[in-house]
């Protein structure tokens, strides 16, 4: 890797020359688009903890595949989607209980530790880095076929979500009314969690199993702070996610000691912090205005429902 060139345009031209960077940008953009869109609904439906659990499942799935000598992608996508569907089935109306999720994924992570040991000891310690790669991502190490697979799958997730966006939004905001209007609420819950699982598997390759939660939660949280309009927030979330990936990758390219996942997460967290401070300041300046910036008008909870 070269250091940042003095002229930014020359620097950009340098970046485009490296195939590994082209693959990273290709996969990263598609994954960020899917994460931003899916993340919006994850935050809206209060399922961030489910996303957290799926990220740990991704780790165990990937290492189980490695330990068994199977295809890593197969283990990753298979385990994430299977557990996502199981969670949808366990939870009433497609939403599982906190404690159940916590107990299950703590154990799944323990299994991951077992597979990590099996995998590293079976190879005599030469595979020690692959566990780290799964945990913290290795977007600069993607091959062209991996990058294209991830990009295609992520774009598929994004298109599917954009397709079911309107009924899903209705079902997320007011389950009872949506059900009464003939929307298959439970079915949508299953489809949505399967999409979260797929996104988690794809994002594991970009930012790693431990960090993909940030890509789901931070852009979506930022967007929801900035606007109360659902579809604007949804696309804003996707935009922030894509921008975080681009800026983060560029930072990591310019400063080789910074891991790309840290760059991406730092930008996304920075966006959230700025949005948080901005809305807090606005709220303090205009305390009399009735509408809180962060609350959807449709779901204002009745007073005293805590």
């Amino acid at each position: 890797m070269t250091l940042l060139a003095a002229n930014p345009l020359v620097g950009l031209a340098h970046m485009a020359e490296h195939p590994f960077l082209r693959y990273a940008f290709l996969a990263g953009t598609a994954i960020a688009l899917a994460s931003g869109l899916v993340g919006y609904f994850v935050v809206l439906r209060g399922q961030v903890f489910t996303g957290d659990a799926l990220s740990h499942v991704a780790f165990t799935g990937a290492l189980a595949a490695l330990a068994a000598g199977a295809n890593l992608l197969l283990g990753l996508y298979g385990s994430c989607v299977a557990v996502a569907l199981a969670m949808a089935a366990l939870g009433s109306r497609g939403r599982a209980d906190d404690t159940v999720i916590g107990s299950v994924f703590a154990w799944v992570l323990g299994l991951g530790a077992l597979f990590l040991t099996v995998y590293t000891t079976s190879s005599g310690g030469t595979n020690a880095t692959s566990g780290v790669n799964v945990l913290f991502g290795s977007i600069f190490g993607l091959s062209s076929s991996q990058a294209i697979t991830d990009a295609v799958i992520s774009l598929g997730v994004a298109v599917t979500l954009a397709g079911i966006g309107r009924p899903l939004l209705f079902a997320s905001i007011d389950q009872a009314v949506a059900g009464a209007r003939g929307i298959p609420v439970r079915g949508l819950g299953f489809v949505f969690l399967a999409l979260v699982g797929t996104t988690a598997a794809a994002a594991t390759q970009a930012v790693g199993a431990l960090l993909l939660l940030g890509l789901l939660a931070a852009p979506a949280g930022t967007a929801q702070r900035l606007t109360a309009r659902p579809f604007r927030a949804m696309w804003l979330s996707a935009g922030i996610a894509v921008a975080s990936v681009w800026v983060g990758l560029s930072i990591a390219y310019a400063a080789p000691s910074v891991p790309p996942s840290f760059g991406i997460l730092a930008v996304a967290t920075g966006c959230y912090l700025v949005a948080f401070l901005a809305t807090a300041a606005r709220h303090r300046l205009r305390p009399a205005s009735g509408a809180r910036p962060c609350v959807l008008p449709l779901t204002e909870p009745a007073a005293g429902t805590t």
């Binding site: 916590g102 107990s103 323990g110 020690a128 996942s261 840290f262």
Partner: protein, 301 residues
């Protein structure tokens, strides 16, 4: 992994136990494990009751960047564990909490962002430090080897302090958890109690992670309490059961891990999950029996 693994398990249980406790590091591991199980059980009980699993999990994983940062700066890892956990607890406490509704989804977005960013910082510290890959696995998945006497003393002091504070705020905390509105009306400072509890949760997480590693702390916080609360609704009884489950899980996990090549975290989480499944099955069958007898009584009457 464990030095004694090669000698394996024999059929003589008494002999095996004597071999287990002959090693000083194993004695220390059991001492630390006992302290950790009691602290995590007591504080985890409130965590499960308050439905703060997500916050608990986040406090648990931040011990990884804490320790990595401490190693990078050249200070003691224990200091890093506690500093990171307490700082994160205060950040989470800043966000207004109200379960359910839109505010909850915002709270969870904040927690998720904090967690991912903290772990990203951990990745950065590891990358900046360069090449402590082996201790990276220990930081994440834990090791029970080489817990020193000084560490046991530190663990004990912190545990006593945390449990002391918990004993003081226990009643108002329970009140504020079960019915925050009434508690507030009766003059309990709900916000204050919640903040103190989050700091305690952070301390507990920091303690546990020194043994189980950052990623598996959560098992000891959530599993014993979740199992006990499945079995009984009476607070005192389920609190006691939580501690008993925690001790049993840790002791069994350590004992088995000593004779095995596989990591202690795997055994602790597996035993914990086993207890949880048994508790869930017991409750399901009791509920079914009760429903059946009620039905028979209705039919007979």
């Amino acid at each position: 992994m464990a030095p004694a693994a090669a000698s394996g398990l024999t059929w003589n249980l008494g002999d095996d136990l004597r071999r287990l406790f002959a090693e000083h590091f194993m004695v220390n591991a059991f001492r630390a494990g006992t302290i950790v199980a009691v602290t995590a059980g007591a504080i985890g009980w409130f965590m499960v009751l308050r439905r703060q699993s997500f916050a608990g999990h986040t406090l648990a994983v931040v011990s990884f960047p804490g320790a990595a940062g401490a190693i990078l700066l050249g200070v003691s890892a224990t200091a890093g564990y506690f500093a990171a956990a307490i700082a994160t607890a205060l950040v989470i406490a800043l966000v207004p909490r109200s379960p359910g509704g839109q505010a909850y989804s915002h709270e969870s977005a904040v927690i998720g962002t904090v967690q991912a960013f903290a772990l990203a910082c951990g990745a950065l510290f590891v990358s900046l430090y360069g090449g402590f890959l082996n201790s990276l696995t220990a930081l994440l998945f834990g090791t029970f080897l080489g817990i020193s006497d000084a560490q046991v003393t530190t663990l004990l002091l912190v545990a006593l302090a945390a449990l002391g504070v918990l004993a003081v705020i226990g009643r108002p905390l329970f009140f504020a958890t079960v019915d925050p509105d009434v508690a507030r009306a009766r003059g309990v400072s709900v916000r204050m109690v919640s903040t103190v509890f989050l700091v305690l949760l952070g301390c507990a997480a920091a303690e546990v992670s020194q043994m189980t590693g950052a990623l598996l702390v959560f098992a000891l916080l959530v599993m014993p309490a979740a199992s006990a609360q499945h079995l009984t609704a009476r607070p005192a009884l389920s609190f006691g059961l939580t501690i008993i489950f925690g001790l049993a899980i840790v002791w069994l996990g350590l004992g088995v891990a000593y004779f095995s090549v596989y990591p202690v975290g795997f055994f602790v989480t597996t035993f914990g999950f086993g207890v949880y499944l048994l508790a869930a099955a017991a409750r399901a069958s009791v509920t079914r029996l009760a429903r059946g007898s009620r039905l028979r009584r209705v039919m007979a009457g």
